[in-house]
Every structure is written in C-alpha cells, then in structure tokens.
C-alpha cells in the first residue's frame, strides 16, 4: 500500500515540476541568453515560490468547494 502511495506522490511531484518549469521559463526567460543571469535566477525563484503558493491557495479553494457542493447535495 505504501508503494501505491509513493507512486502517486512521484506522479504528482512530476506533474507539478513540469508545469512549474514551463510556466516560469515562459515568464522569466523571455530571451534565452548564453547563461542564466542573476536576474533570471531571482525571477525563477520568485516565480517558483508564487507558483507553489498559488497551488496551495487553489488546493484549499477547491477542497472547500468540493465540501460545500457535497453538503448541498451536489448541484
């Protein structure tokens, strides 16, 4: 049972990583240069933090909504 749980956790982390990388690359690296500059890294760090924060805000909002819909007996 722990195996199943771990496989799902890995899939979840991979999905997060892939979407976050795409989003932050698009937001921060608009003109790819010959290396990641200091300001590129600063932007990526902020973008990551905001993305993770957003994920948590959305996770809570969705959980609350699922709960509310269940209580009102669906839509």
């Amino acid at each position: 049972m722990d195996e199943v749980r771990q496989q799902l956790a890995v899939a979840n982390a991979q999905q997060l990583l892939q979407k976050m990388t795409d989003k932050c690359f698009n937001k921060c690296i608009t003109k790819p240069g010959s290396d990641l500059s200091g300001s590129d890294r600063a932007c990526l760090a902020k973008c990551m933090d905001r993305y993770l924060e957003s994920w948590n805000v959305i996770s809570k909002a969705y959980a609350t909504r699922v709960q509310k819909d269940a209580e009102s007996g669906g839509h």
Partner: protein
Amino acid sequence: MSQIDESTRRELDGFLQLEDQKARFHSMVHEFTDKCFDRCIGTPGNSLSSKESACLGNCVERFLDTTFFIVNRLEAIKQ
C-alpha cells in the same frame, strides 16, 4: 492474486478508492493552477497580494460554476 478474505478485500478497495480520489483531486489542482496562474499573477513578487489570492480563488470557483452551467444547459437542450 491469491485468495484473500472478505474484510481484507474491502479494506484494500477502500484504500485504493481513497488514493484514486486523492490523485484525481491533485490532478484537478494542477489543471486549475495551470489555468489560473497566468490569469491572476503578473510579474511574480515577494508574496501573493491579497488581490492575487482572491483572483485565484475566484478563478477556481467560476471555472467550476462554468462547468456546471454548461452541463446543466446541455441537459436542458437535449430534452
């Protein structure tokens, strides 16, 4: 799989169902974050502003409202 007794099977079923539910929940959260991050977050700052947080919450809620609206209207049209 070798034979297992009734109560073990039921416990396993319950476990798998719960994990499946969690996986689907997470998958939806990934979708929503993908959609709503672009709409609500401009240049990433040092923290989410209250306006950005509110936008994210509204984005999820209104997307779900939109889904229900469309499903209900589709059913109404079909009849």
